[in-house]
Symmetry: C2
Subunit: 246 residues, 2 copies
Amino acid sequence: MENPLLRKLERFTKLSADDREALDRLASQRIRRRRHREDMIHEGDKPDHVNPILEGWACRYKMLADGRRQILAFLVPGDLCDLHVYILREMDHSIGTITPVKHAEITLEDFDRAIDGRHRVMQALWWDTLVTAAVQREWTTDIGQRSAIERIAHLLLELFYRLESVGLTNGNACELPLTQAEIAEAMGMTPVHANRVLQELRGMGVIELSSKRLVIPDRAALGRIAHFNPNYLHLQRDGSHLDAND
Amino acid sequence: MENPLLRKLERFTKLSADDREALDRLASQRIRRRRHREDMIHEGDKPDHVNPILEGWACRYKMLADGRRQILAFLVPGDLCDLHVYILREMDHSIGTITPVKHAEITLEDFDRAIDGRHRVMQALWWDTLVTAAVQREWTTDIGQRSAIERIAHLLLELFYRLESVGLTNGNACELPLTQAEIAEAMGMTPVHANRVLQELRGMGVIELSSKRLVIPDRAALGRIAHFNPNYLHLQRDGSHLDAND
DNA sequence: CGTAGCTTTGACGAGGGTCAAAATAAGTGG
DNA sequence: CCACTTATTTTGACCCTCGTCAAAGCTACG
């Protein structure tokens, strides 16, 4: 399969052959594999490399002192994970795998070298950072204002759009390797309640979800429940003025 | 008073005289004043300038179709507000004032010109973007996992630290021009409940809050209630290796 | 000093949390 | 491929935190 990172960044601007080659080389130089439910980076670490995900799912999370956990983001193939270690020395949260994960490991120096002089790539990476922040704002809104059913509907739609943008959907279906407990930890509710909400959504016929596979028969219907507006995902090729022409 | 933007950025790295002058010029070229409760930028806009706040408070917010509002961030002097319009064309949220606001208005071209060749300034601005994202993650955790009293305690501490970093505190006191309704909209609760929680915090003697003035007699005590860890504010001069030496 | 905006109270209700156990599904080793 | 173990999903009963609605005090300011 094509490099999912490239695929995602081209959602912003068309890269040149040289850009693509540089990124591809970067993402295939050093590859690591992680097991299921393993911490890739822990809060307090001062990592010196960036870990774009090539296969599998991970999540960004924070633990409170008393064991409560908030999942802050789901990370799927194409996600840079932790580009911010570029500037922020110390991790203020952890990253753990959800499924087995295959990811690249890029030292900051290699990263620097690859970006240097490649303005278009630099902009694309910045775009990715900003979209990540926009998604975080949407999650704040989810948890702060939406009811449990709206929240879960919203999350499922968001994940579907994001997977679609890296070519990981199949018509109206996709893999969704999350447990209900993980969905609950992300949306600030208990697993018991997440279970009840999922049953309700199934009962309404707007989703099918079993054995780690999600089907959304009618996106508009689910969107109406969620009050979903995909503008925050910025899928509109904001960087088309930077398009390469080779 | 000193330019709060400079003051904040120097929390990251020491700027050179030239850097400071460039930023200062940028932030004083075109000044606008806004009234109390006015929208500075609206969701859907495609602004072509950045609006750093020089005086007063504003907030970032999202409206849902049915009128619910989530405040996503409080913006205080020194905050860039909307640096992301640099890359993302269309606003996915709105920015409105809370008090009367004085802000600069910097066109993207001027911004470009000022940053060009000033690597240290560029890094400092990027740092600001990343800290903003880190704060957003903390808010997600607040609303998702913390109880109402923890949340409000956490918010008040965060604001206090941020104000301190731009020189807007006085010992253990600061201005806090928020209504209880605004605090509630930020923390995903009702104004009635926010009121009750504030009374409880007052009753415990960990805050004094009246006529828009906040006093935190014992920061550690309030921190214990909030489970507060300031690491996410990245106040540790992450960019000290970039320090200018003039 | 009147009026609008904020804060505070009270009574009541509901969405979602808690606890615990049962029913399934998914692994694992023999 | 079966038997056993462990993880995940589902149910049920109960209840608590926080939301709703509505009215009454305050405060601030023209």
